[in-house]
Symmetry: C2
């Protein structure tokens, strides 16, 4: 969907952007225009046993909940993502939600049929994005009147899912037609299936696996390091001073590079210099184009991000094992609904071997599991940007 | 070779460790005991056009140079390595040189036949190791009486090779039977073949490619970041104060993790906790075993390392393209000697596709090139630790 493309389908989105309506000067509903909503819980007690008062998370919806309330599909987001999975906030938006290719009227996840809910997680990275609503270390602790910082409880993927369950139930929904998510969203989809097997009818984990392995635990460890090395981090207590943006930027560069692929970086930038006439072999000041691009992308990606939230997300990912018990086999066997695993063989974060092992462990007790592949040049990121390739497969899986 | 294993072969090593002799109280030569030697140049002008006064690099040799001086094999080292490729400095050494498996009397690189030279590079990482001799940012600049720090000229793989050429020529050697090196050492081996095609008869690049691609340039960029984020780095001017060991440690963790493989990390550590009873899901203080291991390994690996040297090595790797011109095809076509490329399909740093492309470009003008694979569970590191698998192939290639 391009910026100026007019909507063809009739209105299927329930949330109408008031800003846009004011601008347009008309009361006519505009397809694909969405607004953020907020779900609040007076308190939530984490799996680890700590209670957080006044938990808030943002969510969006696309399509209409039917009377039986059994046509809801939940979308769970990736590490640096948020609940804006489809549609546009207003006509000025440079781009729609990240999976707009597959969510909408007549699309793979057809909003003419399904009521699609997408939710922000706890400790969402982009807490300073006006379109993100989350609760985490940057949130004011009601007990002190100051941000929690590193006093915020450690939260896990199970906690993300438990809060989503409360959101879903607040809408009167007792069963989800499907849960779909990419990367960290795949962890949530799998955890939904493991934690609440009777509540989920289908699971689509995209570019993700049933647990985070030792190599990934190590990766999250090293990606977190730049933040802690930034002298402005101060053990997380930077909310009254300058935040550790330099460290956060380097952390984002790392995760961004590994979340992509050399096919893309080589084709797009190769060994090009950042500036003509400035040979990188002559000075540390002179860089290659890929370095400049990593810098620019990371700078853009941290505009609304919070460093402590990055650390909490890294921790949540590190601690992920389906079912959150000691046995992966049991955690995955707890899943009773059919699973469609979508991945790319070029994924440099969630390795194909582990997707296959996830499938095998889900299937072990007879649950149906299937793998389909996405092809592309951007590795892990193809799970977001090239999802359109498997649109028909998703449609078929949802209709079964 | 184990610590207490007695040498079986007769003496083939020319350099006898005086320390050991004093300890043993005998004049008998001891097989595999080596000593570091030093090569000095009054001055060296870099490819970039800057002159360094009084360049010194360390080297070792194993075996005897024949009268024709045509049995020399040069070993070029990897990023965190040095010229200690084989043998033992003394009986107290916990382990021999890194490729002792294939270098020695009767081994793949047979010191009964060949005179094996191994050289430290410029800007060697472990400048504070008493067994490393190098010239780089930690070296005293004769012009100022203080360490160069970041005023040291940027040096490239071509510079490493040019200094090695001067070393080799100082021994009266006009032609090398072979150049062999792993990882950054493979870059040097390839550059030897491209820069001095008439002087090299065989090239064995192990776990390396003919150029550093955009993805790797980006990787070296992000691996360098922790050093620069450490407030003690101070733009490289830390030689009168505390060095940026925290940043350097994180940089080493990154390169160490990516230089290994998930097969190993999963089998060895999995999701084990660092300490019993300290669940990582409950506190940021609690870690997984893999995190503790990465920390311990990195701490050990930086004991003699210098942060600025790390940055200069990263820059040298980033700038590498065979021939150091603008055309990779020309740089690799300049190689006229047969090439044996050794790699592992599990390499997470130098991807197999690029090894194949390197081979194709070397072969393009009729030069013989061949690829053999190493199998293992430690990815890139298998090029060092599992080299014994291809010992016979190396022997055959050297005898042809």
């Amino acid at each position: 969907m391009k910026f100026f493309k007019l909507p063809i389908a009739t209105t299927t989105i329930t949330s109408i952007c008031l800003v846009w309506l004011a601008m347009a000067g008309t009361a006519a509903a505009f397809d694909d225009i969405v607004e953020k909503q907020v779900f609040e819980m007076p308190r939530y007690t984490t799996v680890g046993g700590r209670t957080i008062e006044k938990v808030r998370i943002g969510w969006e919806s696309y399509g209409t909940l039917n009377e039986a309330k059994d046509n809801a599909i939940l979308i769970t987001h990736f590490y640096s993502g948020n609940s804006h999975a489809a549609g546009w906030y207003d006509l000025e938006d440079p781009q729609p939600g990240y999976w707009d290719t597959i969510i909408g009227s007549g699309k793979a996840i057809d909003t003419d049929k399904y009521f699609v809910i997408s939710s922000d997680t706890l400790v969402n990275l982009n807490v300073h994005d006006p379109n993100v609503v989350t609760t985490g270390p940057a949130t004011i602790n009601p007990a002190t009147g100051k941000p929690y910082a590193m006093d915020f409880p450690v939260v896990t993927i199970r906690d993300f899912v438990a809060v989503q369950k409360a959101l879903v139930e607040s809408l009167g929904i007792r069963s989800l037609h499907a849960v779909i998510g990419a990367s960290m969203g795949a962890m949530q989809a799998i955890e939904w299936g493991s934690a609440y097997p009777k509540m989920v009818k289908r699971i689509i984990p995209v570019i993700g696996t049933g647990w985070v392995n030792a190599f990934m635990i190590g990766s999250f460890h090293v990606w977190s390091a730049p933040i802690k090395l930034d002298s402005r981090w101060q053990g997380g207590n930077y909310y009254d001073s300058e935040p550790p943006v330099d460290g956060l930027k380097e952390s984002m560069k790392m995760i961004g590079l590994q979340g992509n692929h050399w096919e893309w970086t080589d084709e797009a930038f190769g060994r090009n210099w950042a500036e003509p006439g400035k040979d990188p072999a002559l000075s540390f000041e002179n860089q290659y184009e890929i370095e400049m691009v990593l810098e620019a992308l990371a700078r853009k990606r941290i505009a609304h991000a919070d460093a402590n939230h990055f650390l909490y997300l890294a921790k949540a990912c590190q601690t992920f094992i389906a079912g959150h018990g000691s046995s992966l086999a049991e955690g995955l066997a707890a899943i009773d609904s059919p699973v469609l695993l979508i991945h790319t063989p070029d994924d440099l974060l969630f390795f194909p071997d582990y997707v296959r092992q996830t499938k095998a462990l889900i299937e072990a007790d007879g649950t149906s599991a299937r793998i389909v592949e996405i092809d592309g040049k951007q590795g892990h990121a193809d799970g977001i940007i090239s999802i359109g390739q498997v649109a028909d497969t998703i449609t078929g899986f949802l209709e079964k």
